[in-house]
Symmetry: C2
Subunit: 238 residues, 2 copies
DNA sequence: CGTTGGCTTGATACGCCTCAATGCTAGTGG
DNA sequence: CCACTAGCATTGAGGCGTATCAAGCCAACG
């Protein structure tokens, strides 16, 4: 367990709030849940490590994450794997295959998960704005992807890890959790895969930031001690 | 000038056709032009190096590329730049900002360019399937991005260059050009930026492939001599 | 109590970056 | 016509950052 953060530096969340690799593009996160609250929907629970769907399976529905965390990944024919994102409550799974009959990625629960199954055909009829919501969600995903492409292409290993932590902190905060105390739902290997790093490099980056007093590290639990300093390290010439 | 390819290895285009970083996901490319043929549309021409639009500008329209090549790029606050894609005839520019009032990237002509301006509001009324076409285009872009994220995260410098060449060859072929003789519309620096490599590394990779007789290189003109061997190099353990 | 999976740390190797020099081509102006 | 310049491509030498390999630690679990 990590002891709670020293209350020395208070105004850190404000700094965090306007940061994210995707921050400069995005409008506020959509609240799909309230939109569909009245609708009777199929719910589905998945256990840790379980596949929600796999690449190539017939796509019969979209899924709205209600609880838990998921990763989505793509595979090449020769076995190379790449995690394309870590998804959490409010995110939609499966939209990347909206125009084709089968899923285009794997969706795997990191811990446990509960999803709501959206029957797309029915929704289109019932909610005229549904299709527009989908385009919005897709466009947002593109901008997120571009931001990460920018980060992976231009930042060092340590900066990538910082980017990830700050991005995660912001997403947690948007969902009502602390932006300071994070619990990573993925292994070091998965994190490294997403950031295009080896797991040892991720560990070393975290250890280094810890040694400098910027974060607290206890395995999956991360405490962000100095968001301002972290943000400062993201500049090109730092 | 490059002399034409030796006619020794004939059946290469078939191999090429089913390859692309995005190949395993995508359906055939959309023919937007014929769809909108009857419509009276604003056309716009841009010269080399000219911006079609910039990040943050009010988004009043989408653009369909009719001729020429464009690059789209994103910038971070501290000046880091990343080219998110090279676009050509039939591609849509601006869709990544469909849900927000201003453009989310820069679009810059590489040589010259002619685009058709699509008034989105009008199109939605006139073509009921237009919104669905947009979602399809967005989903395809996401899958393309994921494929490149996979490539950049798991391939060596030389493999990335090969991937790019094969992808470009396929896109040219889809548009009725030769899949064997390519003309790069971008500088080595731009190519390196897209592939997360330095321009010298791109040059070295091209020179190396040339020295092995797999391609012909004369500055911007590339001839693909041995697509099969190139494809073979993309395997994980090659 | 052994086994397994995940995390950390160190030593070494290698691929790509960085810096520097050169060549080439096109455009410009004397 | 020929300097002169600017932009782009190529090539080499050396250094750095991350990958790779190896070992040890710890908690969870059968």
């Amino acid at each position: 367990m990590l002891e709670p953060a020293a209350a020395s530096l208070e105004p850190t969340t404000a700094q965090l709030a306007d940061y994210a690799p995707s921050g400069r593009f995005d409008a506020l996160p959509a609240d799909m849940e309230t939109l569909f609250m009245g609708l009777r929907m199929q719910r589905r629970q998945v256990k840790a490590r379980q596949y929600l769907f796999r690449t190539g399976q017939p796509r019969h529905a979209l899924f709205l994450i209600h609880a838990g965390s998921f990763k989505t990944c793509v595979l090449s024919e020769d076995g190379r794997e790449k995690i394309t994102g870590f998804r959490m409550r409010g995110d939609l799974l499966g939209i990347d295959a909206l125009d084709i009959p089968s899923y285009a990625c794997d969706a795997i629960a990191l811990d446990y998960g509960e999803v709501w199954e959206l029957p797309t055909a029915q929704m289109r009829l019932q909610f005229p704005e549904f299709q527009e919501r989908l385009t919005a969600e897709l466009a947002r995903e593109i901008r997120r992807d571009w931001s990460w492409m920018l980060a992976l292409g231009t930042l060092t290993a340590e900066q990538r890890v910082i980017s990830f932590l700050l991005d995660l902190a912001q997403r947690l905060q948007e969902r009502g959790f602390s932006a300071r105390d994070l619990v990573l739902r993925m292994t070091r290997a998965e994190l490294g895969n997403f950031l295009a790093l080896q797991l040892e490099t991720v560990t070393r980056a975290l250890s280094h930031l810890h040694a400098q007093g910027l974060i607290g590290v206890a395995c999956r639990e991360i405490r962000i001690d100095d968001p301002v300093a972290l943000r400062g390290r993201l500049a090109c010439d730092a």
